[in-house]
Structures are given as C-alpha cells and as structure tokens.
C-alpha cells in the first residue's frame, strides 16, 4: 500500500518561489520519475513529500491521509540520497538496522529483514565493514538496503546514480528496475537524466521552473510532447525545431522533427544544407547539418554514412512533424 497525492503544493524560500503549485497523484505500486533540468525544484518537491521541508501552501496525502503534521520518521517512507549519506560511525549492518531499531522493531524482525535485504543486494560479505571501506557502487547498494529494510509505503530516490561511473550506472539502473518488480513498491525517483527517466518510469513527471510541464508514460511523452519544453527535453539527440517559412507552411509557429525522423540524401529533399560535422558511434551516426536558412539540424542515420563535413545534402521528414503554436503548446502533427 502506498499511494500519494499532492494538492496545489507550493514552496518559497524567502521571496523566491521554487515550487509554484503542483498537483499530482501516484497510484500504489507505480514507478514515477520526476525529471527536469537541475535547479527546477525536483529535490525540493521530494523533500516536501518526505517531510524534511514544510510546504508553504497545499497538502501532501499518503494513502489518502494528510501528513502535513507528520514527522519524516512517521510517514513510512524511505529515502536514498545522491551522496549515499551513510552513517560513517556504523557498519553496513548498523546502517541498515538503525531505522528499525529507532522504530522499536523486535530483534528477530530486524535480523530477518537485514538478511533478506543483504541477499537481494549481494551485501553479505560486507556486513561488518564501515562505509569508508566500500566502493561507490557498494555504498549506494547499502543506501538502497537501508531503505528496503524499512518496508516503507513509499521509496524516494534523489538522483541515486549521479555519483556513479557510466558502467555502474547502467548496472544499478537495471538493479533498481528489478527491485521495483520484486518489491512491487511505490517509487518516486528524481533525476535530471532523461535516459534514466525513459528506461525506468511507468510514469514521467516533467518539471520545469517549479511547474509540471507534462505527466505521462515515456512513450506518450516521446510521441505526443505537450509543449516545446517537453519536446526538447525528452529524446536524445534533441528534437530539431524549425521556425519561419517551413513552420508557416505547416500552419504553426514552430515545428519539431526528431533526428531519427529525418532521412539524408545527396540528390533531393525538403530542406537543403551543408554537413557541419558527423559523429560516428558505430551503431548509428549523428550528422549535424547547417540548413540554408541558418538552422542547425541533427539527423540520426542508422549505421554509417559517407556524408562528411562540407558535403551538400538534402533532408526529408520520414516521421511525425510536431506543430507548436506561438505559446509553445502542441497543436498537432
């Protein structure tokens, strides 16, 4: 059991409004990812849900009950931090036990849950070590273990992978996805990385400057971005935006075409331009084309291409062309 509801939550630090009215519902067992550029208020929103920060206005409900006056330890939540935040004076075991011990759980329960969590996370060999004797990845697993043993209604993750190296990040991402399937827990996960959001989420919440831009499944956000911000934020490489004549012809102020929805040709096409640079990754190639009207367009070509800097090429849309009005709101394809 673990559903969450936010009603018109607002937060100001002095005169600065950081969260400007957020409404959101999270169903039991859902994996929700808050994604947005850094400084947009993701961590602040997560800390409000955890009770570490008081909202200036609005209400937080966990399982239908208002928790505005409930301290963090009583909200039945667990949190995993970017910096791991392990207790330096306690062993791995001690770190995992502390929360239960504070809550007055019987010794047998504590031992059983620590055993189970350390099995899931392969932490058995390290139980008696201090955090200072662990690697970054191991520390993050301990931090996750500390959250699991509490069997909370709500797991809160604040950029848990940001301090890991690239290879470890992919591994831990898989571990977290598996963990969600295993525990069937409600998870709220904060990240600034749209790849993490796309790969993990049941539901993505795109935040920008303290407001929700769009809520939806990863594929909804990819196929039908509600506005220019979401269109530019979700997808890699970034969506191409065109204004001026091209857009006017389509009856919009701006049109957006994803790099994978453009084809490259040497003979003819909708737009003409000169190749500025080609990035070869093996599986695919990103070709940056300077169009004749000045716009810089990215094209994703599967495999390799012979196009190189200075070549004259033509581009043609092969997929949806997203249309946006003067306010940046999507009006159709």
């Amino acid at each position: 059991m673990g559903s969450l509801e936010l009603r018109q939550v607002k937060k100001s630090f002095g005169a600065v409004d950081v969260i400007k009215g957020v409404d959101l519902t999270v169903a039991d067992g859902e994996f929700v990812v808050f994604v947005g550029p850094s400084g947009c208020g993701k961590s602040t929103l997560l800390r409000i849900i955890a009770g570490l920060e008081d909202q200036t206005a609005g209400a937080v409900l966990i399982d239908g009950k208002r928790v505005d006056a409930t301290p963090p330890a009583k909200r039945e939540i667990a949190m995993v931090f970017q910096t791991y935040a392990l207790y330096p004076h306690l062993s791995v075991k001690g770190n995992m036990e502390l929360g239960l011990r504070q809550a007055g759980a019987p010794e047998a329960t504590i031992a059983e849950r620590v055993k189970k969590a350390s099995e899931i996370l392969h932490l058995e060999p390290y139980l008696d070590r201090k955090p200072s004797a662990l690697s970054g990845g191991q520390r993050q697993r301990v931090a996750i273990g500390r959250a699991i043993v509490r069997e909370p209604k709500l797991f809160l993750f604040d950029e848990p992978l940001s301090n890991l190296d690239a290879a470890l990040r992919v591994n831990t991402r898989l571990e977290i996805a598996k963990l969600h399937r295993l525990l069937k827990a409600t998870i709220i996960y904060v990240t600034h990385d749209q790849v993490e959001a796309m790969t993990l989420a049941d539901k993505i919440v795109v935040l920008n400057a303290g407001r929700i831009e769009q809520v939806g499944t990863p594929m909804e956000l990819y196929h039908r971005p509600a506005n220019l911000f979401v269109a530019g934020f979700i997808g890699s490489p970034k969506m191409n935006f065109l204004t001026g004549q091209v857009a006017e012809k389509a009856g919009a102020t701006t049109v957006g075409i994803r790099p994978e929805h453009l084809s490259l040709s040497r003979e003819s096409g909708a737009f003409a331009g000169v190749v500025a640079h080609a990035e070869r990754l093996g599986a695919d190639t990103f070709v940056y084309v300077e169009a004749d009207d000045g716009a810089l367009l990215t094209v994703r070509v599967i495999g390799d291409t012979d196009a190189d800097a200075g070549d004259r090429v033509f581009l043609t849309p092969t997929g949806p062309v997203h249309r946006f009005d003067g306010g940046g709101v999507r009006v159709g394809e």
Binding site: M79, A85, Y87, H89
Partner: protein, 279 residues
C-alpha cells in the same frame, strides 16, 4: 610523498625555515626551564648557559612547593580550565548547530550578536560581572571563573564551529531524520564527530588564555582555596624584590598541564583529519 614532486634544495629550504621558526618559538621556553634549575647568582651571571654542577640549584622548586598550597593552585587551574573548556565546546557547538541548521527569523542577527563578543573584550564588563557575582554569592568559587570564561570563549567558538557545521552534508542529517533520530542524536552522533578537527582547534585557542589569565582570578576568586597557578605565582613577584628562582620554577611547572592538554587535543585533531572522512 612522490619522488617527482620533491627536490633536494626545496626540502632543505622548507626544513631550514621550519627549524628556524621552531628555535625562535622555543627559545624563551627553554630559557625559562633552564634557568629555573640554577642558583640566583648563576641566573644573573650567565643566563644563557645550561645548569652545571656548580650552578645547579633546585631552590626555586623547593620554595614554590614549600610555600603556599601549590598543588592546590594547580588543581584549581585545572578545574577552571577544563570546566570552561567543556562549557565553551558544548554550548558553542550547540549554538553553532542551531545557527547553521535551522532557518528562523533573526538567524543572521543572532549570529552577528554572538560574534560581536570576538571584538569586544569581556574585561570591559568587569564591574558588572563583579557586582553580579557578589549578588549571586559566587565570589571565590570555581563556578564564577568558569561562567566568565565560558562567556569569554563562546563567540569565537560559535563563529568557527558554525562555519564548519555548514559543511556537514545535509543528506546525512536528513537520512538520520528519516530513520527517526532525534535532533540531539543527530547533533551528538552524526555532526559532532565530523567537526572534531574544528572542535580541537577551538579547544586549543580557548584553553591557553584561560590558563594564563590573571585578571579574573585576582578579582573574582583571590581566596587561598580558589587561587589559580598564575595568581599563586604572583606572590614571588614583589614591588621591590622578585624571587626569580621561584618565579621561573612556577612558570616551568605551569607549562606542564597545558602541554598535556595540548597533546591530547592535537592527537584528536590529527585523528579527526585522517579518519572518518566518508563522503
């Protein structure tokens, strides 16, 4: 150190500077200790020579230990210094934690008010303090001195410690809150161990002026039973004659306890820097 980053001339220069500084700093101390073991005549005749078979004379020490209750004075000094130190570190750290951790109205103003004491010497308030101590019936007690020295040490302690406490990770404190630790547990178990080097620094800076102070013991606690070492040593300095043997012996003896306290703190200072640095 890696061999690539050291060079012989640079090592010699660095050590030369350090050794010169050490000699300059230690010279007066060695002079005092050396002369405290010599006869009065030898002190004046050849102050820079080591005590030899003819010039050796423990008269200073026998005078000091024979006259007055010098062991008692030592114990008084220790009680006052340790008591004040405990007060400064405990209350200073608690105030610093509150200032750095909690957002409340007038936080900055309170911090400034507390830091003001660094610039305004507490001696300016001597008359008020004396009146207060007389009224509270605390004259000639250890407590009077401990209270005054705690007040004297707090501004600098709060100032230094609150800067250090700002550097302790918010995530760590928040993890403690989610696990249900009280603010006191968070302060004592999570934050204090991480600012131990700063605590040691504050302890050393606080301790020395208290141990050496003559002013407040003279005014607030001059009785035989509460006299501190510094005050006790004054009996040998007269307006017309000064018993140099005794003064030098008393000073030599007074160095010992400070040295011990310093060694204790400097050890924990080094331990604080080298261990427990977990991100």
């Amino acid at each position: 150190m890696s061999r690539a980053r050291t060079s012989l001339p640079r090592t010699i220069a660095a050590h030369g500077i350090l050794i010169t500084y050490t000699i300059i700093a230690l010279f007066p101390v060695i002079l005092i200790v050396m002369n405290s073991f010599k006869s009065r005549k030898a002190i004046f005749a050849s102050p820079l020579t080591l005590p030899g078979p003819e010039t050796y004379d423990p008269i200073g020490y026998t005078t000091v230990l024979g006259q007055g209750d010098f062991t008692g004075y030592f114990i008084n000094s220790l009680i006052v210094t340790c008591g004040s130190l405990a007060g400064v570190l405990l209350f200073g750290a608690m105030a610093a934690f509150a200032l750095s951790e909690y957002r409340f109205r007038m936080n900055t103003l309170t911090g400034l008010y507390l830091a003001l004491g660094i610039m305004i010497p507490i001696r300016l308030g001597t008359i008020g303090i004396l009146k207060f101590m007389v009224g509270a019936n605390l004259v000639n007690t250890h407590l009077a001195l401990i209270l005054v020295y705690t007040a004297q040490g707090l501004p600098l302690a709060v100032f230094i410690l609150s800067e250090f406490m700002r550097t302790v990770s918010d995530d760590l404190k928040n993890a403690g809150r989610i696990d249900g630790l009280s603010e006191y547990r968070i302060f004592f178990r999570l934050v204090l161990p991480l600012v131990r080097p700063a605590m040691a620094t504050v302890a050393v800076f606080t301790m020395i002026p208290i141990w050496n102070d003559l002013w407040f013991p003279l005014i607030l606690a001059p009785a035989e039973s509460t006299k501190t070492v510094t005050l006790g040593a004054q009996v040998f300095i007269g307006q017309f004659v000064t018993n140099w043997n005794a003064v030098l012996a008393a000073l030599s003896l007074a160095i010992v306890p400070v040295l011990v306290l310093y060694l204790i703190f400097s050890k924990s200072l080094i331990r604080g820097i080298t261990s427990g640095a977990v991100k």
